[in-house]
Amino acid sequence: MKCIMGIVPLSAGRITAVVDGVEHDLVGQAPEDIVDLGIVLVPEGRRLFPRLTVEENLLLGAYRRTARAAIARNLAFCFETFPMLAERRMQLAGSMSGGEQQMLTLARALMTAPRILLIDEPSVGLSPLLVIHIINQIRELKERYGLTVLMAEQNFHQAIRIADRGYVIVHGRIEYEGASREELSNNDLIRKLYMGL
C-alpha cells in the first residue's frame, strides 16, 4: 500500500489506477499527487495530528481542491457516521482513545472525497467490539458512495464479511484469490493459516 501511495519506492512491477475511466500510471508520482487523483490511504498506526483538534484534523482531510467543494456534505456525513467525533470536535486528537482515533483516521480519509480508499490494518490495537463497529462503518461507506476499498486486514473473519474479492498474501506473495465470501471461507489454505487446522 505504501508503494501505491508513492511513499516506498517500487522495486519491480507496475501500478496503475483507473479513475473516471482514465488510466494513470502511479509509479514515480509523489504521494500528494496520487491523493489528488482520489486515491487515499488510511495509514497503519493512525498518524493523526495529535496537537490539532478533531475538527482541524477533519478539515485538513479536505485540503485537496475537489474535496473542498464537498466539504459541508462530507463533514455532516462524518459526524453522522461517527457521532462521537461531533461531540469531541474541539478535543485534541492526541488525547483520545485508540478506537476514537481510529474512527477519526477513517473519517479524515473520507473528508478527502476519495474514489479509491486504501485501508491499512484498521483493527490494530482495537477491542473486538470496536473492530466489528469499524468494519461495519467501512461497509456502509462502500455501499453508500460506491467507493472502491482496498483493505489489508489480519482479522480475516471480519474482513471477509464485507469483501467482494479477497487475496491471501503469505510472505509477500499472493497465495490464493477468491471472488466471494463463501469461496474465501471454505478454503484449505485459509483454514490452515487462520484456524490452525
Binding site: 501511495m5 490511504l41 498518524r47 496537537r51 490539532l52 478539515l59 485538513l60 474535496a67
Partner: protein, 291 residues
C-alpha cells in the same frame, strides 16, 4: 512599596503597548520555530533589515515607515521563500536540521549584520513619523502614539495571522506540518511547499516588525542580537505553536517589564522576564497556551 492607582494603570497600559510590539517581533518565531521546527535564530536580523528598508524609504520619500513595511512585505516573503529553499536543500532534505540548521542561521545572522554595516555604516538610525511626538491623555493614563500605532498594527497583524492559520486550509496544514509530514502528504498536501510558504510568512512579519522597531527606538545593525533571547522567550512562554499564546506571552513579558521598571527598579527587568521563562520551562514546559 506603594502602588498608586495612576502608576498601576500606566504600568498596565505601558506593558500592554510594549507587549504588542513584542508580539510583532515574536510572531514570526512562533511560526518558524513553534510550528515548523525551524530554529531561525537569524529572525531578529531580518527585523533589523526591515527597519533599514523602512528607514530608507522614509528618508528618501518621506512615507510612513509602517505603511511602507506593509506594502513591501511581499519582498520579505520572497526572501523567506529563497532562504527556506536553501535551508531545505542543505538540511531538511538530508535530515540533519537541528543543530546544523541553528549554526546555519547563526551564520546568516552575522552575514546580514555585516551587510547592513557595509551598506549603512554603524551609526544609529531613527525615523520621524507624523505621530512620533503625539500623546493622548485619558485621565491619568498616557497613550504615546509612538507605541500605540505599532501596537494596533501589530495586534491586527498577529490576530490576522492567527485567523489565517486556523481558518484556511493552508493555515491548518501549517499547524500540522511539524507533527506528521507523511500524514499530511496523505491528505494531498506538499509539506515542503507548506513549510516554505509559512517560513516566508514568518519573514514577512519580521519585515513589518522592523518598521515598528525603528519607529520605537533607534536602530543599528547589531541591535538584532538583543532580541534573540526575547523572541524565543515570548514564543516559549506563550506556548509553542500557539499564536494566541505568543500574544499572551508578549503581554505578560511587557507587563512584567513595565511593573518591574515602575515599582522595583528597571535593572531587574530582564531577570524577572527570563526568570518567568525559566519557571515556565521548569513547571509548565508547554507554555501558557501550549497544546
Amino acid at each position: 512599596m506603594e502602588f498608586p492607582t495612576a502608576l498601576v494603570l500606566n504600568a498596565i497600559i505601558a506593558g500592554l503597548l510594549l507587549g504588542g510590539f513584542y508580539a510583532a517581533v515574536s510572531v514570526g518565531i512562533s511560526i518558524s520555530f513553534g510550528m515548523l521546527d525551524v530554529v531561525n535564530i537569524a529572525h531578529p536580523a531580518f527585523i533589523i533589515l526591515g527597519s533599514y528598508v523602512a528607514y530608507i524609504v522614509n528618508e528618501r520619500m518621506g512615507l510612513d515607515p509602517i505603511a511602507v513595511s506593509v506594502v513591501l512585505s511581499p519582498l520579505f516573503f520572497v526572501l523567506g521563500l529563497l532562504l527556506y529553499r536553501i535551508y531545505y536543500l542543505c538540511f531538511e532534505k538530508r535530515g540533519q536540521e537541528s543543530l546544523r540548521g541553528l549554526a546555519f542561521f547563526f551564520g546568516i545572522l552575522f552575514i546580514t549584520e555585516v551587510a547592513l554595516v557595509l551598506i549603512f555604516g554603524v551609526d544609529y538610525r531613527m525615523v520621524q513619523t507624523a505621530y512620533s511626538e503625539t500623546t493622548w491623555r485619558l485621565g491619568p493614563v498616557d497613550f504615546p502614539m509612538r507605541l500605540v500605532v505599532p501596537f494596533l498594527v501589530s495586534v491586527t497583524m498577529v490576530v490576522g495571522v492567527q485567523l489565517f492559520l486556523t481558518h484556511t486550509f493552508f493555515g491548518r496544514a501549517v499547524l500540522a506540518v511539524a507533527q506528521d509530514q507523511l500524514a499530511l502528504r496523505l491528505m494531498g498536501v506538499n509539506p515542503t511547499r507548506v513549510k516554505g510558504l509559512a517560513f516566508a510568512l514568518s519573514i514577512a512579519t519580521a519585515g513589518v516588525a522592523g518598521a515598528f522597531l525603528i519607529v520605537i527606538q533607534p536602530v543599528q545593525p547589531a541591535l538584532g542580537r538583543e532580541y534573540i533571547g526575547l523572541v524565543f522567550a515570548v514564543c516559549v512562554l506563550g506556548g509553542m505553536g500557539s499564536i494566541w499564546g505568543t500574544l499572551l506571552g508578549a503581554f505578560v513579558l511587557g507587563i512584567a517589564e513595565s511593573f518591574t521598571s515602575t515599582f522595583f527598579g528597571p535593572s531587574w527587568a530582564p531577570a524577572v522576564s527570563f526568570g518567568l521563562l525559566l519557571a515556565a520551562l521548569a513547571f509548565k514546559p508547554s507554555g501558557l497556551l501550549g497544546r
